[in-house]
């Protein structure tokens, strides 16, 4: 098997008494789509913070394409090809939607401003934000902000894309569009890790599913098998109700 795109080895992180990552080991293969589910407060977003470099691990190592990136900051990791969306959107509120996306392309994608414009146009089209391009980011609705999160992350030209709850609140139709867009992305060969409470959308995409609780991986494997497992029904009762 080829080297994994990302490998976490014994990654630990705690906030006081709360353990959000308890010796986590994860590997994601190139081109793979991995789904992550788990109850509120399980440590899913914390895991993204650790992988993207937003938060430093207390111990353990993180390797990207066999290269140790544990000590790199988020900006350096993004330039290497790791990009994430935030569960709680952080738009650049003093900028337009277009400019928000240009930032991702220009810095994460290391492009000149001209090239970044072209990339931003492409991504806005893909994410359905074209009509909002010149709107100020702080005028967007929550759903549009989530789309902007994804657009900015995509503009950086990631090889590993981390998506944190982007399907919540979408209508049936919008959800199908999202699934289609992500399916299209997968064809370009990028790897995706997707945290999602809307399980049916997740299951339409991912090759493998991981269940996290109390900062630990409690189940892992083929999505259907995992969903049917005793662990999921025990600790994860009621997730479908959210969807």
């Amino acid at each position: 098997m080829a080297a994994p795109i990302i490998r976490l080895s014994k990654v630990c992180k705690r906030y006081g008494a709360i353990v959000v990552a308890d010796a986590i080991d994860i590997e994601v293969a190139g081109g793979e789509a991995l789904g992550i589910i788990g109850p509120n407060g399980a440590g899913k977003t914390s895991l993204f913070n650790l992988v993207a470099g937003t938060v430093k691990a207390d111990s353990g190592t993180i390797a990207y394409r066999n290269r140790d990136i544990t000590s790199l900051n988020a900006a350096a990791r993004c330039r290497l090809g790791v990009s994430r969306s935030f569960q709680i959107p952080h738009p650049f509120s003093g900028m337009t939607v277009f400019e928000n996306v240009v930032v991702g392309a220009a810095f994460g994608g290391d492009m000149s401003e001209r090239e970044a414009y072209a990339k931003a146009v492409e991504v806005l089209e893909l994410t359905g934000l074209k009509a909002k391009a010149n709107a100020m980011a702080d005028s967007l609705t929550l759903l549009e902000r989530k789309r902007l999160e994804m657009a900015r992350a995509l503009a950086t030209g990631p090889e590993l894309l981390l998506l944190d709850e982007i399907a919540g609140g979408l209508s049936e139709h919008e959800c199908r569009e999202l699934v289609a867009a992500i399916t299209g992305l997968r064809k370009t060969g990028i790897s995706i890790v997707w945290i999602e409470h809307v399980v049916h959308a997740l299951l339409a995409i991912v090759d493998r599913l991981l269940v996290i609780d109390f900062g630990r991986i409690v189940a892992e494997g083929d999505p259907k098998t995992v969903m049917a497992s005793r662990e999921v029904s025990e600790i994860y009762l009621g997730i479908e109700a959210d969807a």
Binding site: A75, C78, P91, F92, T96, V103, V121, T156
Partner: protein, 340 residues
């Protein structure tokens, strides 16, 4: 991807900004020609306005755009001033030439200072900058060749290096101040409209998001700190070329070179390019009409500051911008799809 021309383009200028550019050019020509129409006192006042505008513009770049709230920029004003005296008196360099020298050395000295104070954040950063300025003051007070604690004056022979005649000298100093403020304003605008400026705007809105999108925060802030320190040192050299006399207390004065500058920027509109221009006009209008009132004048300044902060927290220009959406220096990028 095909090679056809794209069906979109990016626009920066607006109708107001084009009009503003025309007005600005006319004003610049008029100000450049001031020696032809203004008296000596007016030109001195204008020079002083220029230096304050340049300082406010640079402080705004630091605090308003890079989020580096410094209360120690007097360190670089004083440093620049002392470089003028050091190079002109001790090394015989032409006083005008010491201005760019002060700029380069100011930027260089800012690098180790930044490495020290960038470890601090928020209020601690502000205190750190002020402590550094005090360190600068104490160091220069030790240099006996430059008058130690009581300071020194620029010898007549050195002053004559600028120009023989007094009128010509005044004109040259005026033009130097004019040139410097044009370069500082123009340079700030240019910087903010480039890719770097985009990074700064992103950092200002959300550090967490900009970092995760690949923006190098530390490096961008360092660049801004160093550039603004260098430029502030140039303004410092120029200020003391106008004054012809320097002392540690005058050179590193927190009131003159930081408090008034913050007043100007905050009143005018922090984080906008136009703000310092509006602020400097308000400040000098107040000063020229009320300065005779002594301490009442200072109380009025305080009152104005409080009223503006309560009624228009983004300053006078921020207020205008929120109300009417005017941008005189357009940095916003608007995309147009003309074929749609």
């Amino acid at each position: 991807m095909s090679a056809v021309t794209p069906d979109w383009r990016v626009e920066r200028a607006t109708a107001t900004s084009r009009l503003a550019a025309v007005v600005a050019i006319v004003a610049l020509i008029a100000l450049a020609a001031a020696p032809a129409w203004a008296g000596r006192a007016d030109m001195r006042l204008l020079s002083e306005i220029f230096t304050y505008l340049a300082l406010a513009c640079l402080w705004n770049l630091l605090a308003g755009f890079a989020g580096l709230v410094s209360v120690g920029q007097q360190a670089y004003v004083g440093f620049g001033g002392y470089m003028l005296f050091a190079f002109a008196i001790l090394l015989g360099v032409n006083p005008l030439l010491t201005i760019p020298i002060a700029g380069i050395l100011g930027a260089l000295i800012a690098v180790p200072v930044a490495v020290l104070i960038f470890r601090l954040s928020g209020a601690y950063f502000a205190i750190g900058t002020w402590v550094m300025a005090e360190v600068f003051r104490l160091v220069f007070a030790q240099v006996s060749a430059l008058g130690g604690g009581s300071g020194t004056s620029l010898p007549v022979a050195v002053v004559k290096d600028i120009a023989e005649g007094r009128d010509m000298r005044e004109w040259i100093v005026y033009w130097a101040a004019f040139l410097l403020v044009v370069v500082v304003l123009g340079g700030t605008y240019w910087l903010l409209s480039t890719r770097r400026g985009l990074a700064l705007a992103a950092i200002r809105d959300s550090e967490v998001a900009s970092e995760s999108l690949g923006v190098r925060i530390w490096r961008t802030k360092l660049m801004i700190y160093v550039v603004s320190a260098g430029a502030t040192a140039m303004v410092g050299a120029l200020i003391f070329l106008q004054k012809l006399r320097i002392s540690p207390d005058a050179a590193f004065n927190v009131n003159d070179w930081t408090a008034y500058v913050i007043f100007i920027t905050v009143i005018g509109g922090i984080g906008t390019i136009e703000g310092p221009i509006v602020g400097v006009i308000v400040f000098f209008l107040l000063r020229e009409t009320l300065a005779d009132l002594g301490s009442i004048y200072l109380m009025i300044l305080g009152l104005v500051a409080i009223v503006v902060m309560l009624k228009a927290p983004r300053g006078l220009w921020g207020f205008v911008q929120d109300r009417f959406g005017i941008e005189l220096f357009p940095v916003r990028r608007r995309i147009r799809y003309p074929l749609d």
